[in-house]
Amino acid sequence: MMIRHAVLQLKPKKGHVGHNLERIGQALREIRHHRPDVVVLPEAFLSGYFLQGGVREVALTQSELAAAMSALYDSLAWDGPLDVVLGFYERDGGIYYNSAAYLELGGRGLLNIHRKVFLPTYGVFDEERYISRGNRVEAFDTRFGRVAILICEDFWHSITGMIAALDGAEIIYVPSASPARGFAGAEPANVIRWKSLTQAVAAEHGLYVVLSSLVGLEAGKGLVGGSVITGPEGNILGAAPVFEEAVLLGDIDLARIPPVRYDNPLLADMEAGLPLLMSDLERVMAGSKVLEKIPRPVRGKALVRG
């Protein structure tokens, strides 16, 4: 079965959540004849990415988001259900997260929320000053198959894609917001890096990666776009342009995953080999810089010397 995907590489209006919801509606009306099954929006699309303390003024609870998206869906008179992946700032009581939702509109509603775990707080980024870390990476079932969401820097750490793949994900959705930097090459350096990351993760685990990357200038910082859909061999199947709004369409065929994994059974190998390495993972974490002032016994195999 082909799953028709549409990556909506759109530019939000800073701080205008209602306007941005309506922008999603406009885009969906414009592309409805392409009959997408799943549309994927970028990180923080509902508000714009760089907000500093403004996060708390625009964040939504899960139920507010679900209600807003349900109302949007109702206004579209869409033919059948529509799945949406959408980045937004989430409020849960007095705690704020950089989150992305998976919604089955016209069906079961909100299926999953991923809260970004790796919050960049260096250079131009300052996330952890304003928001809290999520602490889960998990796959979940949609009407099309098993998928996972990772947000931006989450995806830059290979362990997150590995966990998602071991948890059964066959598609990883990656909403991102990446300001352009590094203008020496054919494309901004971060676009080149993003593309190679999607190729590496997709090929390592034999799955699809759908990257939806924000565009628009935010006070001099140019969110770069360059969204891609990358297939299980690590081939980029389609790429959106940099800097400008665009819709990237792509049919995802999950039936291709088993043959690709048969050729390159790296995920099965990981499943078998990872337990052998868990003690080393524990050992290095026990001795990591974070914990270095707390002496702990070294576990794992004893070295034979002599």
């Binding site: 209006k13 701080g15 205008h16 800097f243």
Partner: protein
Amino acid sequence: MLKVIEAAPGREVLELNYPLVAEFLTRFIAEELEWRGYSRAVVANSGGVDSATTIALAVRALGPQNVFTVFMPHAISRPESAEHARLVAEYYGTPYEVVDITPMVEGYAAQTPGITPRRLGNVMARARTIVGFDKGEQYHALHLGTGNKTERLFGYYTWHDVADTGPIAPLGDLYKTQVWGLAEYLGVPEVVRGKPPTADLEAGQTDESDLGISYRRADVILEHYLKGYPDAYIVGLGYTEAEVARVKSLVNKTHWKRHLPTNAVVSTTAIHEFYLRPLDFRLG
């Protein structure tokens, strides 16, 4: 016989993909003006490479008819500045006007016995700020900052001059060396980009004699210093200890100049200290 291949060592690169930079800066001008409610720009046209490059980008972003270039001479300005300012406006097809700031500046100077050439130069620079903002009002436009990264890092400009006060500044993250490269790509006339840079505020002034180092050498030192390379590494690239020291000294005497004025903090809602919002934040 073994085939031997040697990998290139990694290094910092100042050379940029100028078509890509131009595309980005063009978009920057259009989008940053748009959300502020503008589609037109004023550029103080000095006849130098920074203003010419800014004009070229603004023309790409907005169309030549929407870029109001204003040459603001003082009686001591070099004659070639006028020629070059007109040449740039004609080359890019923009509106061009001349506002002679001599009466403004000399009106003040006449009331200020003993004013030095340096002070008078600063008055000229800030008189141009007044004109830049007023021309913006006249044309429903914003005036563009024209400062580059090298002069910003050196604090080599008059605080709040017309180049410093433009609300939108496309060249502010480009070293002078990179502005030259971009100017060449954008077709800025050679006579403009090839001449020695000068603030043209005092007779005989050039940037590089004021700074005590050439831009091309300074920019390599700056890039390495900002990225955290130790002095010895930079000296190892072929720069003298005196050059490195000069560059570091200029940067570290002028951090204040790259910020807004200092406000005394007495509360937990002090602006930019506790109450933090990006400049493009708005609710709706």
